[in-house]
């Protein structure tokens, strides 16, 4: 446990099938909260707090969208303790998964079903579920969404995630598994995030949409970056089990001059393929609108 933003509440609410026998404190590992510019990369230790990131001048200068995202996450108090590593590795906020005393032993905990499929799924995925193994030869699907505040920004910036065992491209880092929201293996720890400084980090916009101005996890968040050749990267959070790449929109925009009509088309393209439930169909409209507006604001 580092900042405890995700795990502490989960433990207090006793949401897991088994309470962990041991919890290892990694918060105090020296050097893992550094933020530095080195070799054309912004390097952020996994233990850097969201508040540190939000007010860091190096990040503000070359990756301002990340500062913005970190500064809007959670609440002022929690930003001082919660870490970038925790924000990226956090488990879903699905209210079935989070219901106390493991009331719903869902597939993400190795259970038999995703309760949101037939239940109240207003905050769940509009791009379908993600299948994963809960046991050998047993595949299950979860429709909970990834609501990491920082994930979309880091993906569009082309970040790389360094672990105790390897380096992973940001867009390959997120996954769905039993008690897992990443590709990290057992015992593997995220140690550093490296952001190449360049057009994608500097020409980047971040937008979060939440019901309240503080505390809330984003219902939808998105990041868009572009280079001078007209190549766009668009990723959305809160709409799928992992950060969702709006590839259709990216393709549509490639090399084109922005206009209100094109922005609208791109927004529509970003939502193409959505398969919402009745209760979360509003997210489709939000995707269209937010992508359109952010493109026009770039």
């Amino acid at each position: 446990m580092a900042g405890g933003g995700d795990l502490l509440g989960a433990l207090k609410d006793d949401i897991f099938p088994e309470y962990p026998k041991t919890i290892v404190n990694i918060k105090t590992i020296p050097g893992l909260d550094d933020i530095k510019l080195e070799d054309g990369m912004i390097k952020i230790g996994a233990l850097a707090t969201l508040a540190d990131i939000a007010r860091n001048p190096i990040i503000a200068a070359d990756a301002a969208a990340l500062s913005e995202a970190a500064g809007k996450a959670s609440s002022p108090t929690l930003r001082e303790t919660t870490t970038i590593g925790g924000n990226l590795c956090q488990m879903p906020r699905c209210w079935y998964y989070r219901k106390l005393n493991n009331r719903f032993n869902c597939v993400r905990k190795g259970g038999e079903k995703c309760f949101a499929l037939a239940g109240d799924n207003r905050y769940h995925s509009i791009f379908g579920g993600m299948a994963f193994k809960t046991a050998p030869n047993v595949n299950k699907t979860c429709i909970a969404v990834n609501q990491s505040e920082l994930a979309p920004v880091l993906v569009v910036m082309g970040a790389k995630f360094v672990t105790t065992e390897r380096e992973i491209e940001a867009d390959a880092f997120f996954s769905v598994g039993v008690m897992s929201a990443t590709v990290l293996g057992p015992g593997e720890i995220l140690t550093e995030i490296k952001i190449p400084v360049g057009e994608y980090s500097r020409r980047c916009r971040y937008k979060r949409f939440a019901f309240r101005k503080s505390i809330d996890f984003p219902i939808i968040n998105l990041a868009i970056s572009a280079n001078s050749d007209g190549n766009y990267r668009i990723y959305l959070g809160g709409v799928a089990p992992v950060p969702y790449r709006a590839a259709n929109a990216e393709a549509l925009l490639k090399g084109c001059e922005m206009s209100p009509e094109l922005a609208k088309e791109a927004g529509d393209a970003a939502a193409a393929g959505a398969r919402p439930f009745e209760a979360n169909a509003y997210k489709v409209q939000l995707v269209k609108t937010l992508v359109k507006r952010e493109l026009l604001a770039m």
Binding site: R103, F209, R212, L286
Partner: protein
């Protein structure tokens, strides 16, 4: 009616009453953390208790094997529902008739059921609960009250919850109005999960014949939670008292309910000690939770202090219950309402829930209208949604049905809703009175100025940033409850006026108001009155709600004047003395400046006893008499128009105004301006009054834009019982409320004051402004998902 009958009710000169920034007596304790709430108390050798909670919306505990739990080291006791220890308990407060104190049937997810564990720590309690082998029988449940009307559904309340005796004549006010009714004798008997009640007044046929058109609309309201900010907790132990014969119970945490505890444990009140004062803010929620009641029972069994504290999730009690109203109003071409017909489906909650605003149909907004032809038909559905203690503070009264109706008439006729309201509002004395209500007129005009009011039809105005603009207006009475008889005692002792009160401190600063009134009447400074917090004092800060403070304040005012009279009589007598006596000894006494004057020629001002005709002749109060003088006064304050006529008489009024911007592409609603012009009659403590307005707008905004109680349709389990998923507005979300306070002195409490708060709370002011912006209705809370759906965007 102004305060004619009481002492100095028409006083013009106020030195203390109405002043802003009078310090709160307990503010420092609250701000520094010195204040202790129920959860803060500890005792040496204390044990902890936790109650088993149902994971099902409706289930019965068939059996519990406690052997594994009892085998855990540190687990001291497990008490099951069928233990005879519960048979000895006395009556319960605000929980209806329960078949047993701790039942083996849970009627909502999270309900206390079946067993209580006692252990050396809370963690061990939790472990013990998990180790209980509970055999559950899962039962049918209803969390959708629309579907719950289905006659084929099995009854979710057993015969032990027989409600047939509630079909009786309802209590009547002195004016002959029924109130607090559950059923009427003529109402059809309940079938399955559904009860009905109907009230018809006036001549509906005539009303509908007079109408030029009928407007039909729905006002749907969801339930919101109490969410008391402090965890409900208690700590109790039994002692041998030096002072009281028999057993003495010490209990902390059941603040303000010492007598309820003494009744439950069949003890004389004097044998229950409770020194804690603080219970945190609460809004018309008077019920104790089991965690506040059960610790004495457990402590007696284990012979050690026992503490029991609810978790945050366990604090998510239902506060306002769901209601779906369909209203038809007959309206003339000028906009005058001639008939009102309402059909509502209302959540009855779980068994034992308060029926205060479920069946009774009298506290509605309709009685502020000239129209006397009113039919209200209620269909009341049992559910497993939640237990409602004693709340239902605004929505079920139906005040918002009138707001929406007046707005719709204005929309249809192309008129300003304030004009439609003025046309339909009856006069001060009755529904037949056609005179204007001065307080309403003053609030209306001030409100228009405050808001720069310019009405526009729905969907016709866009702001420069492209969002849609909407505005709305609402009026109601500034109410005063004044149901209760109140009691006040003041004591002049050692040169100081003492004001003994038991508190509790629940957030409305009533004691401060009472001290201000007493100081004003006694002619002393606010700081010169010593408040003695004492749980044994008869006076309580509770006053039938915060707006009851002004009725209670009226009693304090009378009491202060009695004390003052006695002090002056004593001072006049003391002034005649020529010697001071100490036992057998006598010492010459210099002439008092008051010598030769009778009590009626004296007064108290600025802490001095003065000669009225020559104020230069004065003696400090503390030196004017050395006697100990007490005064007490009890009884009912003058009749409250609101609490006896429910709107058929109008004295103090308020208006609320709201402007919103709606982003029709994202469904976001922003409150641009929220204005309140209130005439509470007379301001007692301005800081409290303004804070109450802020609080009620906070409540109102939460209810209309964010808050919602989400139950899983498949299991009936509450999904958002936490501060993250149950969205109360944060400080960044709450708009600044523009306020203007008028003082027309026409209320019936102290100095012509009435109250504030309750009737400012509403479910549809913002919703109406949203309609004005967009032309569509959305059921609250108007979250972006609902907005986009209403706008046809998804």
């Amino acid at each position: 009616m102004p305060d004619y009958s009481g002492a100095n009710g028409l006083r013009e000169d106020f030195k203390i009453v109405g002043k802003p920034n009078i310090p709160g007596l307990t503010s420092r304790a609250l701000a520094t953390g010195v204040a202790m709430f129920g959860a803060d108390f500890t005792a040496p050798d204390m044990l902890y208790a936790k109650i088993l909670r149902s994971p099902y919306a409706h289930a019965k505990v068939l059996s519990i094997d406690i052997s594994d739990a009892m085998a855990i080291e540190g687990v001291v006791d497990v008490v099951l529902w069928n233990d005879p220890v519960f048979d000895d308990l006395g009556p319960l407060m605000f929980k209806g008739k329960r078949p047993a104190y701790l039942m083996n049937e849970a009627h909502q997810e999270g309900a206390e059921v079946g067993a209580v564990v006692v252990a050396e720590s809370e963690a061990l309690c939790q472990e013990a609960l998990l180790a209980l082998k509970v055999e559950w029988e899962v039962l049918p449940f209803i969390v959708d009250i629309q579907k719950g009307r289905d006659p084929d559904l099995p009854a979710i309340r057993g015969p032990e919850w027989d409600e047939s005796d509630t079909y009786g004549p309802s209590p009547m006010t002195a004016e002959g109005h029924a109130w607090m009714a559950t059923h009427y004798p003529e109402d059809p008997r309940k079938i399955g999960n559904v009860g009905w009640t109907t009230k018809v007044e006036g001549n509906m046929d005539e009303g509908q014949e007079q109408a030029d058109f009928i407007l039909e609309y729905d006002v749907n309201v969801h339930d919101v939670v109490s969410l008391l900010p402090n965890p409900q907790a208690s700590l109790a132990w039994w002692t041998d008292s030096m002072y009281k014969p028999g057993e003495t119970l010490r209990i902390e945490g059941a603040v303000g309910r010492r007598k309820a505890i003494s009744a439950l444990y069949k003890l004389p009140d004097d044998n229950v000690i409770q020194e804690g004062l603080f219970q945190g803010g609460k809004y018309c929620d008077w019920g104790l939770r089991m965690s506040q009641e059960i610790t004495p029972l457990l402590s007696k069994r284990v012979g050690r202090p026992v503490r029991c504290c609810n978790t945050r999730e366990e604090n998510f009690d239902m506060c306002v219950n769901e209601r779906y109203a369909h209203v038809q109003i007959g309206v003339t071409k000028d906009g005058l309402i001639t008939s009102v017909e309402e059909d509502s489906i209302i959540d009855h909650g779980t068994p034992g829930s308060s029926e205060m605003t479920v069946y009774d149909r009298d506290w509605t907004g309709y009685y502020t209208l000239k129209c006397e032809n009113i039919t209200q038909r209620y269909t009341v559905v049992d559910s497993n949604r939640g237990f409602m203690h004693t709340c239902g503070q605004f929505v079920p009264y139906g005040w918002d049905m009138t707001t929406v109706g007046l707005y719709l008439i204005a929309e249809k006729l192309g008129k300003d809703p304030t004009d439609i309201a003025r046309l339909n509002l009856h006069g001060p004395d009755s529904q037949k009175d056609t005179r204007p209500v001065p307080s309403f007129e003053a609030c209306l005009e001030a409100g228009k100025k405050l808001m720069n009011w310019e009405w526009h039809p729905s969907g016709t105005k866009r702001l420069p940033d492209g969002r849609l603009h909407g505005a709305s207006f609402r009026y109601q009475m500034c109410p005063r409850h004044a149901f209760l008889p109140y009691f006040c005692k003041l004591e002049y002792r050692g040169g100081v006026v003492h004001f003994p009160t038991q508190g509790p401190v629940a957030g409305w600063f009533g004691t401060e108001c009472f001290v201000m009134i007493a100081a004003e009447e006694l002619g002393v400074a606010y700081e010169d009155i010593c408040v003695d917090y004492d749980y044994r004092a008869e006076h309580t800060d509770e006053a039938g709600g915060s707006d009851g403070v002004t009725g209670h304040g009226w009693i304090v005012k009378e009491c202060a004047n009695i004390l003052k009279k006695k002090i002056l009589e004593s001072a006049a007598k003391a002034a005649q003395l020529t010697v001071n006596r100490f036992g057998p000894m006598e010492f010459p006494k210099p002439d008092s400046p008051l010598k030769g004057y009778g009590a009626d020629e004296l007064d108290i001002a600025d802490g001095n006893v003065i000669v009225k005709s020559d104020p230069s002749k004065s003696v400090p109060l503390a030196q004017a008499t050395s006697e100990t003088i007490t005064a007490d006064y009890g009884g009912n304050s003058p009749k409250s128009a609101w609490a006896t006529e429910f709107g058929r008489k109008l004295d103090t009024m308020n208006t609320s105004w709201c402007e919103v911007a709606v982003d029709d592409e994202t469904g976001e609603v922003e409150i641009l301006k929220y204005g309140v012009v209130a005439d509470p009659g007379k301001v007692i403590r301005r800081t409290s009054l303004e804070s109450q307005i802020d609080q009620v707008v906070y409540f109102t905004q939460g209810c209309q834009l964010l808050e919602e109680y989400v139950l899983d349709p498949e299991t009936g389990v509450k999904l958002n019982g936490n501060m993250l998923d149950y969205r109360r507005p944060t400080t960044l979300d709450v708009p600044v409320v523009d306020k203007e306070i008028l003082e027309l002195r026409s209320g019936d409490g102290a100095y012509g004051a009435s109250g504030i708060a309750h009737n400012l709370a509403n479910s549809h002011l913002i919703i109406t402004a949203i309609h004005n912006a967009t032309g569509v209705w959305v059921d609250p809370p108007a979250t972006p998902d609902r907005m986009l759906k209403a706008l046809g965007k998804c």
